[in-house]
């Protein structure tokens, strides 16, 4: 199995007819993802990439039974798109869009939380379950490698680096989840860790955090209370100066909050080994899992 996404998922893409939406929906299809529909207000009734396009998410759900939404719409419309998917009863929404106003995301959380919708992102690469040949988002197809490591990260490209480094050592992933680089997100590290804890096909979790906020500290608290699987930690932005926003809206050390030392210390305290480099992530994984069984 995997978490959140598998071969039986039915994915719809909001903003599928746009240029990014088109490019990445095609990549998702090429990967084998069961994409069933697109949603573009005003373009309902047409077809794109061989798929039916609907004006609303509700129409798309009624017609196709979609249960997962990928959001590729511009920042000004993204909050609305997420809420539309949630209101239509979609249980999992993955928002790739970056630069969404933080107030919009706060409203989104207030809207979707009571409806039980799980949101991944925004400002994230999405998620991929290689063994299930399913992905929603922009993680490159060619780095996919089925296996038994769960990866959860705040970054996009850094996640790809980690996946590739693990692949070179013979380790694949059950599911990789990029939770996003914004200050106000959907799923947190802790949420994803809990899902990996219950997944029978995940033997170890790589948690790649970065400076800013205190999600890593929260995750460390969760692990410290007793986590059933080994976790390897990594924190990027260790040489970032305080007060400087390092690209991600959420990657900033404010006063004493969000510093790499605090995160590393919290993880250590919870018994998590923290790698200094990506290569070390692979070494630590090998120590915990034993040599990779070539697949």
């Amino acid at each position: 199995m995997s978490i959140l996404l598998n071969r039986n998922s039915k994915v719809l893409v909001q903003g599928m007819t746009g240029s990014e939406g088109s490019f990445h929906t095609q990549e998702m299809l090429d990967f084998g993802t069961p994409v069933v529909a697109g949603v573009s207000p005003g373009k309902g009734g047409s077809r794109h990439l061989g798929l039916p396009v609907f004006d609303t998410v509700t129409e798309a759900v009624d017609a196709t039974g979609a249960d997962t939404a990928g959001v590729f719409v511009p920042p000004a419309f993204a909050a609305d798109a997420i809420m539309e998917a949630s209101a239509a009863g979609i249980p999992l929404v993955v928002c790739i869009t970056e630069l969404i106003p933080v107030n919009d995301m706060i409203r989104v959380r207030a809207f979707i939380d009571p409806r039980g919708t799980r949101l991944i992102g925004p400002n994230c690469p999405g998620l991929m379950s290689p063994g299930e040949r399913a992905k929603v988002g922009i993680i490159p197809n060619h780095i996919a490698n089925p296996g038994r490591i769960g990866v959860v990260s705040r970054s996009g490209t850094l996640t790809y680096e980690i996946i590739q480094a693990l692949a070179r050592a013979g380790y694949g992933q059950s599911t990789s989840v990029g939770i996003g680089g914004d200050p106000v997100l959907g799923l947190s590290f802790s949420d994803v860790l809990q899902l990996f804890a219950e997944d029978q096909e995940t033997d170890l979790v790589v948690l790649a955090g970065e400076i800013g906020g205190s999600d890593e500290e929260r995750a460390a608290e969760l692990i410290g209370r007793g986590y059933p699987k080994p976790v390897v930690g990594f924190i990027s932005g260790r040489s970032a100066p305080p007060g400087k926003r390092m690209g991600h809206a959420g990657a900033i050390i404010s006063g004493t909050t969000g510093s790499p030392t605090s995160k590393v210390a919290a993880l250590h305290h919870a018994g998590v080994e923290v790698a200094d480099t990506i290569e070390e992530i692979v070494e630590l994984a090998r120590e915990r899992l034993g040599a990779a069984v070539s697949s």
Partner: protein, 407 residues
């Protein structure tokens, strides 16, 4: 100034005090009468009109008082001299273009009131403390027991009963406060909190702060100082505001690192770090890690520059151009892992930029991802050899540039 709070690269637009107070008045929160002066003569005139005034430097940064940017003037002549002393003064890197001349208040109590983002709760938070007059971080870090918080529903806003409970909790937190009767505090603060929250939503503010919220000798509750920061991601909804900030908006950037100001003008996500290895990458996490790698190899990163997702050839060229504006840069490390970014686009941008800029500095390129084969072929054909891995590339560039002593 509290370290880290008001760093120059906050992704927000900071309003000056007088601009923020204009917004407060707009939603019905009382502020002292004031005039903006750009010369000692204008300050003198304001004092003639208003009587005793406080002259306050208009800079988008805290700690003005300690830096000498706030002076009391009892007479127009004193106002003239105070303005003459403050105008043009440098406060934490910001030169003062104007002063706010405001009627002096008879302060008997200072309260802290702020609306900001609570990342952990994924919510806005209203913060109230009767131990006022401090910076929000000081309150939160040094005396968290003296503050009360409310996380309102973002659609409904804080309800009067919630605010009454907040006020009562805040009073209890300091063991009560007798400046005003409890009933008066409840009656005065409910509308102020509601209006401040409403304003924060209208403006997409990441921070709306009244500190201090003053109780005067006559029992009036009035905003002593105000700070508003608008989320840069929401600028598309506030073009009018950004335009209106006009000449003073330049004050908001004058204290910044000139290279960072230039990068912002070019639309690049750039942070100046002061070393000699120029760094370009795609994706914030990867660039952060690239900076860490260069440092781990004993090198000294010159900057953080994220060309972002879907970067096109032109952006790559602009990025390289940007790095070369920094005279300290002695070599460039380009680290691209393509997801949304295409290798061939990056390669084309690099080659044309190198050729057009006549780049002679060492250039180490590490590239992978979507269309990496095409990208690599393009680079090789142009005489640039890509490095296999990021750590290898980091070692290479540090070797080529040399370890900077002590940096």
């Amino acid at each position: 100034m509290v370290a880290g709070r008001t760093g120059p690269r906050e992704a927000s637009v900071k309003l000056l005090e007088h601009q923020a107070k204009e917004r407060l008045r707009g939603v019905g929160i009382e502020c002292p009468t004031g005039r903006v002066a750009r010369s000692p003569q204008e300050a003198e005139k304001a004092a003639q009109e208003l009587g005793p005034v406080v002259i306050k430097a208009q800079v988008p940064i805290g700690g003005r008082g300690k830096a000498g940017g706030v002076k009391l003037a009892k007479t127009p002549a004193e106002a003239h001299d105070a303005a003459a002393a403050i105008l043009g003064m440098e406060i934490h890197g910001y030169s003062v273009p104007s002063v706010l001349c405001e009627e002096a208040l008879q302060i008997v109590k200072e309260i802290y009131l702020g609306v900001t983002v609570d990342r952990d709760r994924r919510s806005m938070v209203v913060i109230l403390s009767f131990a006022g007059g401090m910076e929000i971080e000081e309150v939160a870090e040094n005396s968290p027991e003296k503050i009360a918080k409310l996380w309102p529903d973002p659609f409904a806003g804080p309800q009067p009963f919630e605010i009454r409970e907040l006020v009562l909790r805040a009073l209890e937190a300091v063991g009560g406060d007798e400046t005003l009767p409890k009933g008066r505090y409840l009656a005065e603060l409910v509308p102020v909190v509601q209006r401040l929250f409403q304003l924060s939503q209208q403006l997409d503010a990441s921070l709306c702060e009244i500190n201090p919220l003053v109780v005067t000798q006559s029992g009036q509750v009035i905003a002593g100082d105000a700070k508003i920061e608008i989320d840069q991601n929401a600028e598309f909804r506030h073009h009018d505001l950004v335009r209106e900030l006009g000449p003073d908006a330049s004050a908001a950037t004058s204290g910044d690192d000139p290279l960072e100001v230039e990068a912002r003008r070019r639309g690049l996500t750039y942070v100046h770090l002061g070393g000699n290895v120029g760094i370009i990458g795609n994706g914030a996490g990867l660039v952060m890690n690239t900076v860490d790698l260069v440092k781990q190899q004993g090198g000294s990163p010159a900057n953080f520059l994220d060309i972002g997702g879907g970067a096109k050839a032109e952006v790559v060229k602009q990025a390289l151009e940007m790095l070369l504006l920094d005279p300290a840069v002695k070599g460039v490390f380009v680290n691209i892992f393509g997801g949304i970014t295409r290798g061939d686009e990056v390669a084309r941008g690099l080659i044309s930029a190198r050729d057009e800029l006549g780049l002679t500095l060492p250039l180490v390129v590490r590239m992978t991802g979507t269309r990496e084969e095409e990208g690599r072929q393009l680079l090789e054909a142009a005489g640039i050899t890509p490095a296999e891995s990021a750590p290898e590339a980091a070692r290479k560039i540090v070797d080529l540039v040399g370890v900077q002593g002590g940096a």
